[in-house]
Amino acid sequence: MDKSTRIYIGKKLLQFVISMIVLILVVFVVSRLAPGDPLRAYYGEAVERMSPEQLAHAEHRLGLDQSLAVQFFDWLGQVFQGDFGISFQYKRSVMDVIGDVAGNTAVLALVSFIIISLCSLALAIFCVRREGKTVDRVICKLGVMTGSVPEFFMAMIFIMVFSVILGILPQSGAVSVGGGGFLDRAVHLILPVAAISVSHIWYCTYLMRSRLSDEMSKDYVLLCMAKGLSEKQTVYRHCVRNITPSVVGIMAVFLPHLLAGAYVVEVVFSYPGMGKLAVESAQYHDYNLLMMVCIITGATVITVNIIADIIRRQMDPELKQERGQLL
């Protein structure tokens, strides 16, 4: 690793820390929009039975009588010590509750992510090689259409067709009652993954297709063809290789969209994951839990984006020449 790379990674780490602090600050400020409710979030209905002295004591104990800035730094201190608060709904530590289901979401998102990356790259190559022909135009139209269908509607249609009418795939949960083997889990993943993939594949394909199409109009492609390479060889050996850094970038930008899709689809399939947790905690006003889901999701996206930036820089010598942004 040369010096400029080390400096670059150092900058990125600094950027990560600052981004995380701002993310936590934003989430904290939003959570305090609750109309006088953090007390209720903490003690639930018991708030109504408290005497004024008890209320004042409780407010003092939670630090609610301090200014917002003091509250924030107290809370930030707790967070850095690994104390993320108690989930009011589950009466357990927030991190325990999330730890139970985070794995499920990770599996769902990762499988969809891999399928979408591979399929959209394949589809983009397929389309570009037939650019302007009927097949390409039909795929583009179909793509725009599937991309406009709301995820929950797509998921519901899948449930209706494959679970209710055909009855071949399970319609809810991550495992069947009493089951839990690898095959059982895999079968439960098919419909959610399909719903996410179908509704999001066009977003990636479209971006890759236009990047690849730009690449195909460059001079070196003409040169390759002129010296006798077949179109197939040119595309696979040169063009696809040249757009790989862009593909990494596209997939990093795509991650928040994927997570949003996964969260919604989880709820439709009652798949025990972060999305279902988020919706339930919103329904039960369990703010501590909801805050943590937002922070963890945001942190994942920020981390992946920074890693993607570093990978792209290593892949693409041109990016090394650029002056990085200030932060």
Partner: protein
């Protein structure tokens, strides 16, 4: 490649908008009326599109629900566009350091998936109403547009006409309105249009998840929120009909947005060609 005017999409959209506007005239039933003797009847003579699990006429409910869905889409996009234009212009005109900070902030906001952010803010401010949903969606949908506005403003901020206006003492809003907005409006127009679609989709998702409008406040989302149980009993129309209307609307909006986007890049060339032709004739 110039894209043809999407006549089908525009026509379909006009029909849908007109139908929701004329809901009072067209709707055969009161959308809120629960006919307990006609629960989950399939499409037929009495009820053209059938009834839902609460005995409401689906056709009337879709017409009145569409009104709310479209209003939310348009109003929320209005708010987010306003924020985006102000934020983007300030970032574009600001010195490099402040610009970096502002842009970094939008990226952090965008790192939380928008639907999660909407759920979070809506949960924090309490029970959902049409008004609160408009505000929440409007407050979360602006970062992507703001980025484009900022890039555009950066390109035109040093043009002589902007500098001249500044030198003559034009205020921030005067320059924004007279000199900057005409420059970037055509570029962000396609995003504004597709944001209307996203806002409608966000509302539908939110209500479907049970975090948006309650069942008795009709929108396409709240109408669909009862479909989960309905399809288990085989009442497909409760899911498919409102869902299809919603999806068709979204596809049409996206199609119009796509038309604006594709034609914008070459907008200047097309305009010049058109002008030349007229002169020759």
């Amino acid at each position: 490649m110039k894209k043809k005017m999407p006549y089908v999409a525009v026509a379909t959209l006009s029909v849908i908008i007109l139908a929701t506007l004329l809901a009072d005239v067209i709707a055969p039933y009161d959308p809120g009326y629960m006919d307990l003797s006609a629960i989950s009847t399939s499409p037929g003579k009495d009820h053209v599109l059938g009834t839902d699990t609460m005995g409401r006429d689906l056709f009337s409910a879709i017409l009145y629900g569409g009104r709310i869905s479209l209003v939310i889409g348009i109003a929320a996009t209005g708010i987010s566009t306003l924020i985006a234009i102000l934020y983007g212009t300030i970032a574009g005109l600001a010195p490099a350091a402040l610009d970096d900070v502002l842009m970094r902030f939008t990226e952090i906001i965008m790192s939380i998936p928008s639907i999660l952010l909407v759920i979070f803010i809506q949960a924090a401010i309490g029970d959902a109403t049409v008004f609160s949903i408009i505000i929440v969606i409007g407050a979360t949908a602006w970062p992507s547009v703001a980025k484009i506005v900022r890039n555009e403003v950066k390109q035109i901020r040093n043009r002589s006409y902007v500098l001249a206006a500044k030198a003559m003492g034009g205020s921030f809003f005067y320059i924004l309105r007279k000199h900057l907005m005409p420059g970037f409006m055509s570029t962000i127009m396609f995003m504004i249009v597709s944001n209307i679609g996203s806002a409608i989709m966000t509302e539908a998702t939110l209500s479907f998840l049970g975090l948006g409008l309650p069942l008795d406040e009709l929108s396409w989302g709240s109408l669909l929120s009862i479909s989960q149980r309905a399809i288990l009993s085989g009442a497909w129309w409760i899911l498919l009909i409102p869902g299809t209307v919603l999806t068709v609307t979204l596809i049409c909006i996206m199609d119009v947005g796509e038309y604006l986007r594709v034609n914008n890049k070459r907008g200047a060339v097309i305009a010049r060609n058109g002008f030349m032709k007229r002169r020759i004739i």
